[in-house]
Amino acid sequence: MPQNETVQGLGLDEYKYDFVDEERHVFRTKPGLNEEVVRQVSAQKNEPEWMLEFRLKALKIYESKPMPTWGGDLSDLERVLDEIYFYVRPQDHMEHSWDDVPENIKNTFERLGIPEAEQKILAGVGAQYESEMVYHSLKKEWEDQGVIFDSIEEGLKNHPELFRKYFGTVIPAADNKFAAMNSAVWSGGSFVYIPKGVELKTPLQAYFRVNQEKMGQFERTLIIADEGSHAHYIEGCTAPVYSTESFHSGVIEIIVHRNARFRYTTIQNWSNNMYNLVTQRAVVHENASMEWLDGNLGSKLTMKYPSCFLVGEGAHGEILSIALAGNGQHQDTGGKVIHAAPRTTSSIVSKSISRGTGRASYRGLLKVYDGAKGARSNVECDALLINDTSRTDTFPYIEIEERDANVGHEATVSKVGEEQLFYLMSRGLTEEEAMALIVRGFIEPIAKELPLEYAVELNRLIEMEMEGSVG
């Protein structure tokens, strides 16, 4: 997108994904959430009876749980939830070739750069538009090895036994209010199975986009990395800017079997009126390793704490998190690690930047159960404050029941040093360039873990965010 590049270079604080496609949908439910909506969603998907029951049960749980009073400000959410559409179906059926995807949806994704990526290196791409997956493909070589990368609906239809064995086992509907909500109305998301010993050298990618105003998105992803497999999954999220709030509540369940390695990367850049309340959790078995790489740049309020349940001896969990909170944004993010087996290890590194009236909060749990001998964990949180109206918080919970464990938590809060700025400006950089450079340096330990195209994107986003932030 070279032409766009120059145009964007001139815009200050422009939200790149602020383009709206004309609304075209085949079906949508009435606003609000009730049993009828749940039944309609299930009927639209021709689901087996057990899934409808699962959904209806989840709805009851959702209704019985109170709104959380911690984390971000959810006081306005009840009103928002009454107004949004819980299910919107943009087209009739799933496409497997890019050419078959309707033009307006294609335009959106082209602006997101999907076909480009597809042509280059991607192993598989799933794209979700509104509530449904519209495009999904998988490179032939992986397909031959038995890798499954389907929409979640296809997963349920085509692999019913595998699906039912794992679905809802990592995050039961009763886990929290929003997991219950998702369990009731989930739609779209990915179903991934990596067979024993298969190593994917290039990442699987999914994109989520909300186009319609007052729209709720409830994607559900289930990933099973079988013994000794090795894979990386990347999701990106965007939405155009609307005057009313939208809502996203995903549930991501991952099972990492013995000796497997799995990495899940999210770059969340929802527009600034999006509530983003996501539950992500991985169960990590013997000597397996799970890595969450979580970048939160967009949304009005994000509450998201990727978790690793280390249940097998020698399991390893890692959470790398970057949050950028600009004007009016609250990023309440962090991570949880539960050590439930001996010799498990984990590390959490969190970097946050608060700018303007933005607020970045780290919230984390580190728990070592009695018997998890030799558990080791280290948590590091660094916060950077740009303006005197910015705010940062750190809320770590450390619960240790095992003597033979070593855990540490450290957090620092600082402002961009005047000397650093002065030095860089003395070398000819403008104040804004200097600021952007310092901020990039600050997040470097995490950005370097990203695939190149995402690292470039992240740097660009940060530069955009930093413009006009000085003085």
Binding site: R391, T392, F395, P396, E399, R403, A405, N406, A411, K415
Partner: protein, 452 residues
Amino acid sequence: MTDTNSTTAVAAPEGVTEILNRGLLQTLAAFDPSWLRERRAHAWDVYEETPLPTTRLEEWRYTDLKKKLDLDALRWPGKTECADDFAACPQGLRESMLEDHPASGHLWGIDGQVIHVDLEEGLAAKGVILMSLREAVKAHPQLLQRHLAHDALPAEYGKFEALNAALWTDGILLFVPRGVRLDLPVRVTRWVDQAGVAFFSRTLIIAEPGSQVSFVDEMLSRDLNETSLVSHAVEVIAQDGAQVQYVSLQRLGKGAFYQASQRTLAQRDSTLDTLNVSMGATTARVDLNASLLGSGANSDMLGLYFGDDSQHFDHNTSQDHVAPNTSSDLLYKGALDGHSRSVFRGVIRVHRGAQKTDAYQTNRNLLLSDHARADSLPNLEIEADDVKCSHGATVGQLDAESRFYLMSRGLSREQAERLVVMGFLGEVLSRLPLGGVVEKVTRVIEEKLRQV
């Protein structure tokens, strides 16, 4: 108006019992001046309106009050007859006082009543006041009216703060006038002798501009066969440029539920340091807030705990940086043995506009047994950008390498372990090397270690 209300059984407000009720309040306040009667009555109203803390409250998440304390079972203490005669007071109290170093003044009391006060000659002439709160109500009503349960711990602060403000029976007033410096600490020793009862006492310390004082507050008891609630509210005010050290040594026996609310207010250029040593009691909950209200104010906050058996310690601290150019540094360290459990929850709050704040917070825990548990929640809430803040928390076991080294030099395993633990905890004491305190605390820790 109908009389339906009178026929409906109305549940008593939470925490109101057969003993702790408005009738008791009226008895206690019968001889109070009107301002104090009103203050107590107001505190009682707040107490009735405030629900009992439950684990659903963030600050009480790990201490389940319902399981630890049965308010309904508590009786009101009987009158303790003890003459102002050192030889006649309980042995445990005597032993501890004999261990003490010289002091500017002493105060000792039993079961919530002050028995004895002495103050170095000359200090009284300079205007220093050290007296029981009961006496102070008569002798210095304006001073108390201005500060007691008012600036630092008004009833609105919380359920226990309201209860204490309503029902306190005695306590201590220490007033140090402008520019007066006390070379030696003031030492307070309190003894609790009755089981199954509730005690409420208060300490009010006012250090006028440029004054200096150290205050050591020791709380002791025998082992109690029924739970006694020992509630203690501490208000410390350091005015401009004053230097104040407040040290609390909690060495209560088994069966005690110790509940302390402490708040320190540091004005411009003052230094207000605290040390909380928690060794005794079955359950000890300490709430400490340090407010830095004037530019240049500094607070060092130190804490030390050693748990064994099924002791439960809960230290809940906060550092409020309200004015710019203030600093605070917190270090809480603890060792946990047996089935003991520690909760540390601390928060640094940098208020909007409190630029140039330096604030630190460290909590380190050593688990000495397979059944001990430590929870640590160090929080930061930062609303100013030009600040330096950091916190750290660790939980771990005894450093095997240090132990191995010491054993290779000929020490037994026990000796080596003791040394490592002492070294670990000693860091806290070395930061506030107050004569008498270091030796006493070291001896108590060694006693505990001997039982390991």
